[in-house]
Point group: C2
């Protein structure tokens, strides 16, 4: 999706969660020549250790700047990631239309909307998001049709779009599985020891090893034939 080196250095807003996927998406965008402006969210998520991981990954990626927006999605409730609903263990959902309880309503729509505002203010030509349709097929807002619809919206929603400057949405992991993502990242020098994936870590950030996210991560490293440096 990001095939060619940008002719001149273009700015991209990188949605950075501190997880494995967004770290890899950032490394791919950096390798494509983008100057990265990272954006993270503190939205009342259970897994706030992600935010510390996001700061570490941003530094490792050499981003131009890293901004953080705070809001509280708990005002709506509705997800095991922000609510008092229990995070499910040993039950990864990868079936189409079987939407897991860890799904946060409209989360990626909200994240992309803030990224769009940020992109417009700094005059960035791209937004980079590490969504992945294979491992998260249960999340509607991780699917290709959603990304395309948002890109279309971005053209109509912004001063930049109206004035003919297109803001593209790069989702370079969209069609990769976890093992392929890890292999790409390792080639690009991503230090996965800096990343955090667990939905339900201990107080000190130790992954539970049993939630969907831990299970997918472990399977990905196993299939890629790489040791997970976060578990060393």
């Amino acid at each position: 999706m990001i095939a060619t080196m940008a002719a001149e250095v273009q700015k991209a807003v990188l949605l950075l969660s501190g997880g494995l996927d967004s770290a890899t998406a950032g490394a791919i965008a950096r390798a494509a020549g983008y100057a990265l402006h990272a954006l993270s969210f503190d939205y009342g998520q259970r897994h706030r250790h992600e935010l510390d991981a996001a700061a570490r990954v941003a530094e490792a990626l050499g981003v131009v700047e890293h901004r953080r927006v705070s809001f509280d999605l708990r005002v709506f409730g509705g997800s095991a990631l922000t609510d008092e609903i229990e995070v499910p263990k040993h039950a990864a959902s990868t079936v189409e239309d079987d939407i897991p309880v860890t799904y946060v309503p409209a989360r990626n729509t909200i994240f992309l909307s803030f990224a769009l505002g940020f992109a417009e203010v700094i005059d960035a030509g791209a937004i980079v998001i590490g969504v992945n349709a294979l491992d998260y097929s249960g999340y509607p807002d991780c699917r290709p049709a959603f990304i395309e619809a948002f890109e279309r919206l971005a053209r109509l929603a912004t001063k930049a779009g109206v004035e003919g400057r297109k803001i593209v949405v790069h989702a370079p992991l969209l069609h990769l599985n976890k093992a392929e993502i890890i292999r790409r990242g390792v080639k690009l020098g991503v230090d996965y020891g800096l990343t955090h994936s667990c939905y339900d870590p201990d107080g000190d950030g130790t992954p539970c090893g049993a939630c969907d996210s831990c299970t997918l991560r472990a399977a990905g490293f196993r299939e890629a034939g790489v040791e997970d440096p976060a578990l060393r």
Copy 2:
């Protein structure tokens, strides 16, 4: 746009700013039979008196509930409404493609995204937004094509959409001018004395009378042949 009485009471998320437009949009949706769940934002705007107005209007509309989401758009800067840029006086911009400095990047996209999350959690079938393409033609995110693109996105972004329950976006003021909006509202019993429009009020909330918003409001009341009760 909301032509028929809903067959059974349907929930709608109402984006409520406390201004004249959203109060009228709410009254139209209520008259169409919707149970209203109001949503307001505290986003670091200069005109925070809007938030008090939103609470008064919500009560007058008899909403089921009124939730407020806080975030800080000043983290991006870029608009006279959230920034240190001066609010322009006596210079209403209504020219297509002449985008005013009071435009907040991606604001309506962000607002609609939160409304979408809220709609999904409470299982609402509609989002109501008081945008108006005539008086705000300078704002890309107040145009019909934008609203349509968001509705399309909503179908793809949500569990509800994936499961076949459509979330529609009602923008009942889209093609009305300010005077027509005021006439509709007066017929529906909206008390405009509760609403707040000024972009740059005094400390006690007194409208400046000179910003784009005050100017449009005054012209609307004049043209509608109605006295503005907020100025009594």
